[in-house]
């Protein structure tokens, strides 16, 4: 678990996350990620081979549980006019984005 992040890793992860990093940002990201991951590496000291992962604390005993799921019924949603007004570009019915497919 002491895998060191490389310049290529930073580039690949930035692509996955849809982030653009300047060369200066990439350099400081490389440094910061390695420092933080070094700190995280101490989790390797613990033997967790028999421990189930905990994704939601509500599954713990006495933690309050979750409410019943609501009925799968059609309910009014947000008013389209109000929603569309907040988007950068729309035709009032759809969100508009740069062309994806050339015809």
């Amino acid at each position: 678990m002491t895998a060191k992040v490389s310049v290529e890793d930073v580039k690949r992860v930035a692509e996955l996350a849809h982030l653009e990093l300047t060369p200066a940002e990439s350099r400081s990201m490389l440094h910061d990620l390695n420092a933080i991951l070094d700190h995280i590496a101490q989790l390797g000291e613990l033997d967790t081979s028999a421990v189930a992962p905990l994704a939601q604390v509500s599954e713990l005993e006495g933690a309050g549980g979750e409410g019943l799921l609501r009925k799968d019924a059609v309910l009014p949603s947000l008013d389209r006019v109000g929603v569309m007004a907040e988007a950068p570009e729309t035709d009032q019915v759809f969100f508009k984005v740069p062309k994806v497919i050339e015809r």
């Binding site: 982030l19 990620l33 994704a55 939601q56 309050g64």
Partner: protein, 493 residues
């Protein structure tokens, strides 16, 4: 201590409510007075990002009309309250402290916001915070840092820095903040106010701009424990709009906190008093613990040896969830879109690059890395396993004690700029708060004296899931001893 201080204690809810109910105080005048003080204080401290005057004055007029008719008033009737800017309010801008949401006006109210207003609260405006609630000093806000009202050269803590500072400076009687790894408790500690971390699921997250969904919680800030308890009672409870909100009944928290602490068993974990703890903070917390003993508590030394794994666990879980949650900010449906993009893919990355700040990018990168192929088991799965161990360690401790007390933060408020160049040092500021975040248990920050330089020290009182009443009782006892202590000091001095 600097002469430039903006600290002012808000009146209590019961004082204000009595005035409004009797007609001696008009809610409209009270709101106007708060807006006048905001105008005076905010330019220096940068606490409010936007004001919702029209909505506030309409609500105040409704409260005054109800009071004039002699009709029953809600528990927060006419009380001026501020809202952290990661919670949405219909018609008001919601920036989450980010450039990427500049100019966004959400079309609905968060459940907690709606419940406050239904209880009569007058919502003054939106409070500054770290971008997407990521930070421990409020210096990650795209709209500039908040200054601590106690000493404006110091940070207010984060990420709910504006929420804590608003109450400390009395430009809100109470406020809402959010806590993912300590973002209510730590700023409450730095600013010398009460802040409550409710049990995970106790308060609906509907309308909260998500950072890490399995950790995010909404909670109140107030000038005293009882008032914070009253606010918690208003916002707590199941909400069909948040499937993780708990159906457990809501206690009368305000009544709970007056029950006294005689016979309660208080655990003091050695791991929270080790290396890195400021000696003055230690001394104040030990004095607070001594006061609890005098009040009739049994003090028990305990050990929580997994504590040191909490920060690494937290920064894997929180960043992984953040990287998924923040994928929605892509310049399509709301917020900022970069103007110069030929392709869809460029539009996504340009918008995100120009819209997000450095800390948010760092966390998205870390989270994406931890979730990426080949690393998932080593980081994310591992952290979720350690998270269970940490939670179980707390649950075992709570079979022997009713509450656990610790310092909220290892130091008092640090200086603006002091930690901005070292992300890891900033993460370590959360060392005493992330444990409860991971375990989902509840807690309260209660002011517990001040350093010689006049900086507030906060005690963290933790209790098991849904035992907010117990945490508030203990906090109330510490608060009572503090008030008693300062009276004695005044009498001597």
């Amino acid at each position: 201590m600097t002469t430039e201080t903006y600290v002012e204690k808000p009146k209590t809810l019961s004082e204000l409510r009595e005035g409004i109910a009797s007609g001696r105080v008009k809610a409209a005048d009270l709101a106007a007075n708060y807006y006048a003080r905001i105008e005076k204080v905010n330019p220096r401290l940068n606490i409010y990002l936007s004001l919702t005057k029209e909505r506030a004055l309409e609500q105040a007029a409704r409260v005054d009309a109800t009071a004039a008719k002699g009709d029953p008033l809600g528990p927060l009737a006419g009380i001026p309250v501020g809202i952290k800017d990661v919670l949405v309010m219909r018609g008001a801008p919601a920036t989450a402290g980010s450039r990427i949401l500049k100019g966004y006006h959400p079309p609905y109210d968060a459940t907690a916001v709606g419940r406050l207003e239904a209880a009569g609260a007058v919502l003054l405006g939106k409070l500054n915070c770290d971008e997407f609630a990521m930070g421990s000093s409020n210096e990650n806000s795209a709209y500039g840092p908040v200054c601590n009202p106690v000493n404006p050269e110091r940070v207010p803590g984060g990420s709910s820095g504006g929420s804590a500072a608003a109450v400390a400076a009395n430009i809100a009687v109470a406020s809402l903040g959010t806590d993912t790894g300590g973002s209510i408790r730590q700023p409450a500690s730095f600013c010398g106010v009460v802040g409550v971390l409710p049990t995970y699921g106790r308060v609906s997250r509907y309308g909260l701009i998500a950072f890490a969904s399995s950790l995010d919680r909404i909670g109140p800030f107030a000038g005293n424990v009882r008032d914070a308890a009253t606010l918690l009672g208003v916002i707590a409870g199941h909400d069909p709009c948040d499937a993780t909100s708990s159906p457990a009944p809501v206690a009368d928290y305000a009544a709970e906190c007056d029950k006294g602490v005689k016979g309660l068993r208080i655990g003091v974990p050695a791991e929270y008093f080790g290396k890195g703890l400021d000696p003055e903070v230690r001394e104040r917390i030990e004095r607070g613990i001594a006061a609890l003993k005098v009040a009739g508590c049994t003090i028990k030394p305990i050990s929580l040896p997994l504590t040191r794994y909490a920060i690494p666990t937290y920064y894997v879980v929180a960043t992984a969830e953040a990287s998924a949650n923040l994928a929605r900010f892509d310049g399509v449906r709301y917020g900022y879109r970069s103007p110069s993009s030929a392709t869809l893919s460029d539009m996504y990355s340009h918008s995100r690059d120009e819209g997000f700040g450095a800390e948010v990018k760092r966390r998205i990168m870390l989270g994406t890395y931890a979730l990426s192929a080949g690393y998932y088991d080593a980081y994310y799965l591992k952290a979720q396993q350690v998270r269970r161990l940490l939670a179980e360690e707390f649950l075992r401790a709570f079979t022997d004690v009713d509450a656990i007390v610790t310092p909220t933060a290892p130091t008092p408020a640090f200086k603006l700029g002091e930690k901005t160049s070292d992300p890891l040092a900033m993460y370590l500021a959360d060392i005493y708060t992330v444990t409860a975040s991971l375990a989902g248990i509840c807690g309260v920050n209660v002011p517990c004296g001040a350093t010689k330089a006049g900086l507030p020290v906060g005690m963290q009182v933790l209790a098991a899931h849904l035992q907010e009443g117990t945490a508030l009782r203990v906090a109330r006892a510490v608060e009572a001893a503090e008030i008693q202590g300062s009276r004695t000091q005044d009498a001597i001095g």
